[in-house]
Symmetry: C2
Subunit: 196 residues, 2 copies
DNA sequence: GTCTATATATCGATAGAC
DNA sequence: GTCTATCGATATATAGAC
C-alpha cells in the first residue's frame, strides 16, 4: 500500500478511537512505522489528514446511498426508497464505524473553512431523507407529526449503530439492517402505497 | 457563586463546545477571571474537573428520570412509564445540552478507572428503559423485534436533541417532548393496555 | 522519501511570595 | 486563595543530510 494510504488508515483508527486532539503526529507515525517528520512528505499538516479523512468518509457515505437508490426503478414507492436509504445508512455505519465516528465527533477539530464544507456535505446527505419523507406523506404512504424531528430521529438511530456494532456480536449486519428498516417504517407509520 | 462552581460552569461549556483535549487550564481560568495556577486550589487536576462534571451530569439525568417516574401511580401502564421516561430524557437533553454533550463525547478523556465508573452509571440509567420495554411486551402493550436495538434507538433519538435544540428555535421544549413521546410509542407499537 | 536535529510554542502542574 | 515564575514534557512543524 502507498505510504499515504497507510497514514490514512492509521490516522483514521486513532482519530476515531482516541480523538483528534489526543492523537499526536508521533503516534500516527509510530503506527505506520516511520518518524513524525516523514508524515509531512505526504500531508501538509495534521489538520490536512483529518480533512482528507472527513471528505472521504462523507463522500463515501453519500455515494453508497446514491448508488443503492439508483438501482430502484423510477416508480419505486417512498416506502421502498426509505427502506433502501436506511439499510444503506445502517450498513455503512456498522461496517465503517471509524469513518462514522470521525464524522460524528471529530468534525469540530477542522479549520473553520473545512468545517463549513463538511457541514454542507452532511446536510446534503441528510436532505435526501426529508425528500423521501415528504414524498411519502404526499402519496399517503407516510404519516408523521414533524418532518425535521422525524428525519433526525431516523438518521440518528442509524448513526448510533457505529458506536455499538461488532462483527462478532449477536446479530449479523444484515439482521441489524432489517430491524432498523422496520423501526424506520414504524416512525413514519409506513403503509402499502396501494392501500386506498 | 463559589469559585469552584464558577470553574465548573466555565469548564463544562468549554469542554462541551471545544472538547476536553482542546481546552487548556489557562482557557478555563481565563473564563473564570483567575490564573491557571489558582485552579489547583479547587481541583487537583484537569481530569478531576472532567470527572466532577461527568458524575454530576449522569446523576442529575438519572435523578430527574427517577423523580418523574416516582410520581406515577404504582399501577401505571408500561405505555405511561415509557412516555414519562422519554419526556424527561428529551427535556434533560434539550435544557442541559452541555452536560449531555459532555457525557456523549468526552467520556473517553477520563482516566480508565473513572471511565469505567461512568459507563456503569450510564448503563444503569439505560437499563430502566429495557425494564419498561420488557414489561410492555409482557402486558401486550408493546410489540417490537429486538429489545436491545429498540431501546438503543429510543434513547439515541433523545440524546441527539442535545445537538440541535435551541430555545429560540421553531419548537418549545414541551412540543419537542410531545413529538418524541409519539415517536417512541410508534417504535414499540404502543397500544392501550385495555385493548383486549 | 526517510532520517536526525531542532525551532518555537504550549501544555499540565508545582513552588513559594503575598 | 490568588498571584508570578518556572519546571519538564510534549506538541506541530521545519531544515537539511543522506
Amino acid at each position: 500500500m502507498a505510504t499515504a494510504d497507510e497514514i490514512r488508515q492509521v490516522a483514521l483508527a486513532q482519530f476515531a478511537q482516541n480523538g483528534y486532539e489526543a492523537t499526536s503526529m508521533r503516534e500516527i507515525a509510530g503506527g505506520v512505522g516511520i518518524k513524525a517528520a516523514s508524515l509531512y512528505n505526504h500531508f501538509g499538516s495534521k489538520e490536512a489528514i483529518l480533512w482528507d479523512l472527513t471528505c472521504t468518509a462523507l463522500t463515501s457515505l453519500t455515494q453508497a446511498r446514491d448508488e443503492a437508490l439508483a438501482e430502484l426503478p423510477a416508480e419505486a414507492s417512498a416506502r421502498e426508497r426509505l427502506s433502501v436509504f436506511i439499510r444503506t445508512h445502517v450498513r455503512f455505519h456498522a461496517e465503517n464505524s471509524h469513518q462514522a465516528m470521525l464524522v460524528n465527533s471529530q468534525m469540530t477539530a477542522l479549520s473553520a473553512s473545512h468545517f463549513q464544507q463538511a457541514v454542507e456535505l452532511r446536510d446534503t446527505y441528510q436532505s435526501e431523507m426529508q425528500i423521501i419523507l415528504r414524498a411519502g406523506k404526499r402519496s399517503g404512504e407516510f404519516s408523521y407529526l414533524d418532518l425535521d424531528l422525524t428525519s433526525y430521529a431516523i438518521l440518528q438511530m442509524g448513526i448510533a449503530v457505529s458506536m455499538w456494532y461488532r462483527p462478532e456480536g449477536r446479530l449479523r449486519v444484515g439482521q441489524v439492517c432489517d430491524v432498523y428498516a422496520e423501526l424506520a417504517e414504524r416512525l413514519v407509520c409506513a403503509r402499502d402505497p396501494g392501500f386506498d
